[in-house]
């Protein structure tokens, strides 16, 4: 059995007096999918935001790819939040696409600016993904022109274009019709 990609133990998180997560422990082995099911407001999104270091945690340890990423604040030698996020892909429930960029620019921004991929290569890869998700003819449109499902697919493409070690998907199929749910999930599992 390989070492798990993500190992969370005894995670605790509260907003003020509102305790959201308590004693959360789980492992995510390589090449597997882990699903969290819970009522609305039960802390699923917060858990993902904690893993992504967008929110700070109150207690517990988060271990990603063998590194304690919850120690970035106390240990100056630990990996930086930016380095951690480069290993993670996050798809938000409300997409959070960049409205001032075209579909293509949304996808290629991080590969070009963060991962220093040559622009032509990043664009070629983006078109590849757009074709697979049936959005090729929308490459030069702005996100607001897309339907909800198309925006959702774009958000997924944007995060997988960076080849993350682990994808954090926050209710990614909530805006899709049943046919597209199948399509999206099979693409997610293929990556």
């Amino acid at each position: 059995m390989n070492q798990p990609v993500l190992k969370v133990s005894k995670l605790r998180k509260s907003f003020g007096n509102d305790l959201v997560l308590q004693d959360i422990s789980f492992d995510v082995p390589e090449h597997t999918a882990t699903v969290f099911i819970g009522a609305s407001g039960s802390g699923k999104s917060t858990l993902l935001r904690c893993i992504n270091l967008l929110d700070s945690i109150d207690d517990g340890v988060i271990n990603l790819d063998g590194q304690d990423i919850s120690a970035t604040e106390v240990n100056p030698d630990a990996v930086s939040p930016d380095a951690v996020r480069q290993k993670l892909g996050m798809v938000f429930q409300s997409f959070n696409l960049f409205p001032h960029m075209t579909v293509l620019e949304n996808i290629t921004l991080a590969p070009i600016k963060v991962q220093q991929v040559v622009k032509d290569a990043a664009v070629a890869e983006a078109f590849n993904l757009l074709e697979r998700f049936g959005l090729k003819d929308k490459a030069h449109q702005y996100p607001d022109r897309l339907s909800g499902g198309q925006q959702q697919r774009l958000a997924i493409i944007r995060s997988i274009a960076r080849h993350p070690l682990l994808l954090l998907l926050d209710e990614i199929t909530s805006a899709l019709d049943p046919v597209l749910v199948n399509e999206v999930l099979s693409t997610v599992f293929a990556t």
């Binding site: 967008l54 939040p81 409300s94 960049f98 001032h100 921004l109 991962q115 597209l180």
Partner: protein, 301 residues
């Protein structure tokens, strides 16, 4: 895996067969003709109301008892054309100052806005200074800033510091406007939703990259109309430097008026300002609308 899901709009140009060419039904034809009739009536009403209002204004103006003397003192076009070159020459000063001050203000205002919205602990003293700066210079009338700097700095008799009132006046304008512009840009930065930052950071972009590629482009687009407001105000306010003795369009008009006691040069100066500010406003409005039309699906002008 089942094939042929027919989900994609990229599959073909016409994904569905709508059943041949469209023949509008009778009810649709009736709707179209009713719409046409309504548009015609609206155009008529608009024209009639415009003629009535503008006509009344002209009649009231022309029949007023002082109209003849007003026309002779304010609208003596032959004299106006005669002094126009001098006013335009003075207006050159306004334009030059606007370009110099405008570009400096853009840079300084942006820097102050960035400092005020930053969270870095190292910048704490600068954040405080920026706040004091904005509070002070937004609160003092610009005329006072111009007077204080224009007459105060030379009075200090510092070695190596210019006594050129044109330069000192421009600095005063830059100081004041940077405070205004900084606040406009800061408000724009604050309107960009935190989820945009979260998305950018989760893509691995650094703080600076997030500002540069995600936050600022959206913020600046939103505050373009108020920034344009400030630019138009700047063009006019450069004229305030004339109290230090600089000859701008207003001062040139004043000199001509003092010679003949005819106020037409003032009207000419006003027209010269309008000749620049109106096209500028229209052009910027157009640019902004185009960019919003491209970005937003349901844009109503």
């Amino acid at each position: 895996m089942t094939e042929n899901r027919g989900h994609s709009s990229s599959d073909a140009a016409v994904p569905y067969d709508f059943g041949g060419p469209w023949q509008p039904s009778n009810i649709e034809l009736a709707r179209q003709s009713a719409r046409k009739k309504r548009n015609k009536r609206n155009a008529l009403i608009a024209a009639a109301s415009s003629i009535l209002v503008i006509g009344t204004l002209i009649v009231v103006l022309v029949t007023s008892p002082g109209w003849i003397s007003l026309r002779d003192t304010f609208f003596k076009w032959a004299y106006g054309v005669e002094v126009l070159p001098k006013i335009i020459l003075g207006f050159g000063t306004n334009v030059t100052l606007t370009i110099i001050a405008g570009s400096s203000v853009a840079v300084i205002g942006l820097l102050i806005a960035l400092v005020r919205t930053s969270r870095s602990p190292a910048l704490t003293p600068f954040r405080f200074l920026a706040m004091v700066y904005v509070d002070v210079f937004r609160g003092i009338p610009m005329l006072l800033v111009i007077l204080l700097i224009g007459f105060g700095i030379p009075a200090l008799q510092l070695r190596g510091v210019t006594n050129n009132v044109l330069i000192l006046g421009t600095i005063a304008v830059i100081i004041t406007y940077s405070a205004y512009v900084a606040e406009v840009i800061r408000s724009g930065i604050l309107t960009v939703h935190p989820s945009q930052r979260a998305a950018a950071r989760s893509l691995g972009l650094s703080h600076i990259q997030t500002l540069r590629h995600v936050v600022l482009p959206q913020a600046l687009k939103r505050v373009t109309p108020p920034l344009l407001n400030d630019l138009v105000a700047l063009i006019k306010d450069t004229g305030l430097i004339s109290i230090l003795g600089v000859t701008d369009a207003v001062r040139a008009a004043q000199i001509q008026t003092a010679k003949t006691f005819n106020y037409t040069p003032y009207v000419m100066a006003a027209l010269v300002f309008l000749a620049v500010t109106i096209p500028l406003t229209r052009a910027t409005d157009r640019m902004l609308r185009k960019s919003l039309e491209k970005q937003n699906a349901q844009w109503q002008a």
